[in-house]
Symmetry: C2
Subunit: 406 residues, 2 copies
C-alpha cells in the first residue's frame, strides 16, 4: 500500500511537471527565435553601413551587396553553424575565385572564338564535377555549402573575365573584402551578443531526453496500475514523446556537426567528444523503441492486466517498482551528464549497475513456471511480454551507463 | 519437414535477392547522380550563353550573373524540388523587389540624412521580421527559401535605390529577366532531359520498404530456426534496415513535399494524395519498431529457443509459418501499391485481412496454459514474448491494409 501511495505522489508531481514543462520550453524557444531575429536585423544594419557611409562605399564599391548576401545566407541559428557556413563560404570563394581566375587567364591567352569555347567547357566541367561532389554523402553533410559557393564564384569570375578584361583582379579583391566584412560582422554578432550555442542545445536536449524517458516509463507502468482510462492521454503523450526521440537522429547530427565548429566556451573545451553524444543518442533511441513497445503492450492488454491486478497484484507491483528504479537510474545518469561528472566518482556508476543487476534478478523471478501455471492464456502473454520488455529496457540502461561513463 | 524445406528454398532465394539487390540500387543511385550532374553542367552552359553571345548580353547586362546564380541554387535533384525552389525564388524576388522599391521611393522622397535613416530602419525591420518568419515550422518546411530570397532582394533593391537613383527600375527589370531565364533553363532541363521525379522515388521507396520488411521478418524467424550463428550477419543487416526505416521520416517528408510540386506525369495525376504515403510510411515505421524488437528478442533468447526447438518444435513452426504469412501479406500489399490497384478489386484486401485474422487465432493457441506449464522460465519468456510481438506485427499489418486501401 505504501508503495502505491508513493507512486501516486510521484504521479501528481509528474503531472505538474508535465504541465509546467511544455510551456516554458516553448517559451524558451520563442525567446531564442526572437533573439536570433534581432541579431540578424542588427547585423544587416551594420553591413548596410558599408553602403550608407561614403568612405566605406568607395573601398568596396557595388560589391557591398556581397556582404549583405553573406550575412543573410550564413547567419544561422547557432554560433557553430554560422562559423561552419562562414568557413565554407570563405574557402569556396577563395578556391572558386582562384580556379576561375586561372581559367579566365587561360581563355584570354587564346583569344577569339577559342576564348568563348574554353569558357564554355570550363563552365561545364566545373558545374558537372561540382554537382557530383556535392552529392557525395560525406561532403553533403559538412561541406555542401562550400562546394556551392565554389561553383558560384568560379562561374562569376570566369564570366567577368570575359567581359571586363583587366578588372578581374580588382573585382575579386573587392568581393573578397566585402564577404570578409560580412563574415566578421556575422561572427561578432553571433558570438558576442547573446550567443546561442549548438553545443548547449545538444547537451540540454540529451539530458532532458534522459529525464523525459524516465517520466515516460514511470508513467506507463503506473498507468496500467491505477487510473486506466483517465490517463489515456498521458500514455499517448508518452508515445508521441518516444516517437519524437526516434525521429531525432537528423537533428542530433546537425547539432553535433555545428557543435564541432564552436570554440571553447563555458564547460565545453576544444575537441570535446561530440561523437559520444551521438552514440548516447543512438542508445537512447533504442531505449525509446523498447519503452514504446512496453506502452503498446500495456495498452493492448489492459483487460488482462486489470484481472491480474486483482488476483496477483504482487507481481505487478514488482514490475512497477522496477520501472521506478529504472526511471531513477535514468535520472541519475541524466544528472551526472548535466553536471558533466563521471559517474565513477563516488562510485555512482557501479552502484547504478548493481541496482540494475538486482532488477534483472527480480524480474526473472516474476515469471516462474509455478506462478504462471495458474494464469489464463491472455494473462500469461501480458505479464511475460511485460517482463521481457522490461528486461530489455534494463539491459539498454546498462548499456547507457557504460556510454555515459565514457 | 516439408515446411522447413520450403523455408530453406525461400531463404536461398532471399539471399540471392539480397546480394543482387544492394548492388543495383547503389549503381542506380550512382547513375542518377551522374545524370543530375550532367544536367546541371548543361544548364550552366546554356545560361552562360547569355554572357557569351553579344545580343543577349546587351539585353540583361551584368545581371546575367543572376541567371547563373539561379541555376546553381535552384537546380535540385528532383524535378519537384526544382520547381518548388524556383517558385519560391520567383515569388521572393517579386515581393522583395516590390517592397524594396517602395521603401527606396519613400526614402528618396524624404532625402538628406533622413534617407539613410529610413533605409537603415527598413533594413532592420525586414531582416528581423523575415528571419522570425523563416523560423516558423510551417514556413520553414516549404517556403524558407522564398523568405530568404525576399530578404536578399529587398536589401539589394533598397541599397541600389540609394546609390543608383534613377536606375532602380532598369536594374529590377534586368534582374527579373535574368532570373526568369535561369528558371526557364532549369525547368526545361529538369523536366525534359531524363527527368528525375521525386514522386517516383517516394513511390518506389515505399513499395520497396514493404518488400524489405517482409524479407526482414521472414529472415528473423527462420534465422532462429536453422543456422543460428552463421546468419548473425543477416540478422544485423535486418536491424540496420529497420533502423534506417525508423530514421526515414525527414527524407519521406522531403520527397512528399517535392512530389506535391510535380506536374502530371506517368501514373500520377494532379493532386495525387501524397499525404497518404506519409501515413503509410508512419505505420511502416511502427511496424519496423515491432520487427526490430522481434529480432532483439530472438537474438537474446537464442539458447532458450534452441531448447524449445528440440522439445516443442511445433509451436515454433507455427510462429515461423505465421511469419511467412505476414511476409506474404506485406509483399501482396507492396505489389498492389506498385501496380496502384486497390486491393478491393478481386477482393484481395479482404482475403489478406481474413488470413491475418486466422494468424491471430493460431497465435493465441500457441500459448495455452497447458502447454506453457511444462516449460522452463526462460522458455516461457522467450516464446510468449515472441507470440506477443507477432500479434502486434499482425495488427500493424492489418492497419496497413486499411491505409493502403485508401
Amino acid at each position: 500500500m505504501e508503495s502505491s501511495h508513493i507512486i501516486s505522489i510521484v504521479k501528481v508531481q509528474m503531472k505538474k511537471e508535465n504541465n509546467n514543462k511544455i510551456l516554458p520550453r516553448d517559451k524558451h524557444n520563442e525567446t531564442r527565435n526572437i533573439i536570433h531575429s534581432i541579431k540578424v536585423g542588427v547585423s544587416l544594419v551594420l553591413v548596410s553601413l558599408m553602403y550608407l557611409l561614403n568612405p566605406l562605399f568607395h573601398q568596396v564599391g557595388e560589391n557591398a551587396m556581397w556582404a549583405v548576401m553573406t550575412v543573410i545566407v550564413i547567419f544561422e541559428f547557432s554560433a557553430g553553424a554560422t562559423l561552419g557556413k562562414g568557413f565554407n563560404r570563405g574557402m569556396g570563394t577563395i578556391v572558386g575565385g582562384g580556379l576561375g581566375w586561372l581559367a579566365a587567364i587561360f581563355a584570354q591567352s587564346i583569344g577569339g572564338v577559342g576564348n568563348s569555347i574554353i569558357i564554355g567547357i570550363s563552365v561545364y566541367i566545373c558545374g558537372t564535377v561540382g554537382t557530383y561532389i556535392r552529392l557525395i554523402p560525406r561532403v553533403k553533410e559538412r561541406y555542401e555549402y562550400g562546394v556551392v559557393t565554389l561553383m558560384l564564384t568560379f562561374n562569376l569570375v570566369v564570366m567577368y573575365g570575359l567581359r571586363a578584361n583587366e578588372k578581374v583582379w580588382e573585382i575579386t579583391r573587392q568581393r573578397l573584402l566585402s564577404i570578409l566584412m560580412g563574415f566578421i560582422v556575422c561572427i561578432c554578432v553571433s558570438l558576442f551578443i547573446f550567443p546561442l550555442w549548438a553545443s548547449d542545445e545538444l547537451h540540454h536536449s540529451t539530458v532532458s531526453t534522459f529525464h523525459d524517458l524516465a517520466n515516460t516509463i514511470q508513467g506507463c507502468l503506473e498507468e496500467n496500475g491505477t487510473l486506466v482510462s483517465e490517463n489515456e492521454s498521458q500514455l499517448i503523450a508518452g508515445f508521441n514523446f518516444c516517437n519524437s526521440v526516434l525521429n531525432s537522429k537528423s537533428e542530433d547530427e546537425l547539432l553535433a556537426n555545428s557543435a564541432r565548429w564552436e570554440p571553447w566556451h563555458g564547460k565545453f573545451g576544444f575537441c570535446y567528444p561530440w561523437e559520444n553524444y551521438l552514440k548516447i543518442a543512438s542508445v537512447l533511441r533504442e531505449l525509446a523503441t523498447f519503452i514504446l513497445v512496453v506502452g503498446h503492450s500495456l495498452q493492448s492488454s489492459k483487460q488482462d492486466m486489470a484481472c491480474l491486478r486483482q488476483s496477483h497484484s504482487e507481481q505487478l507491483e514488482t514490475c512497477e517498482a522496477i520501472g521506478s528504479r529504472v526511471a531513477w537510474a535514468l535520472r541519475e545518469l541524466g544528472d551526472s551528464m548535466k553536471q558533466m561528472k563521471k559517474c565513477e566518482e563516488n562510485n555512482k556508476g557501479s552502484s547504478i549497475l548493481a541496482k540494475l543487476k538486482a532488477c534483472k534478478a527480480e524480474l526473472s523471478m516474476v515469471i516462474s513456471t509455478s506462478k504462471v501455471a495458474i494464469l489464463e492464456n491472455g494473462q500469461v502473454l501480458a505479464i511475460s511480454s511485460l517482463v521481457f520488455l522490461l528486461m530489455k529496457v534494463v539491459e539498454k540502461v546498462e548499456e547507457l551507463v557504460q556510454e555515459v561513463e565514457e
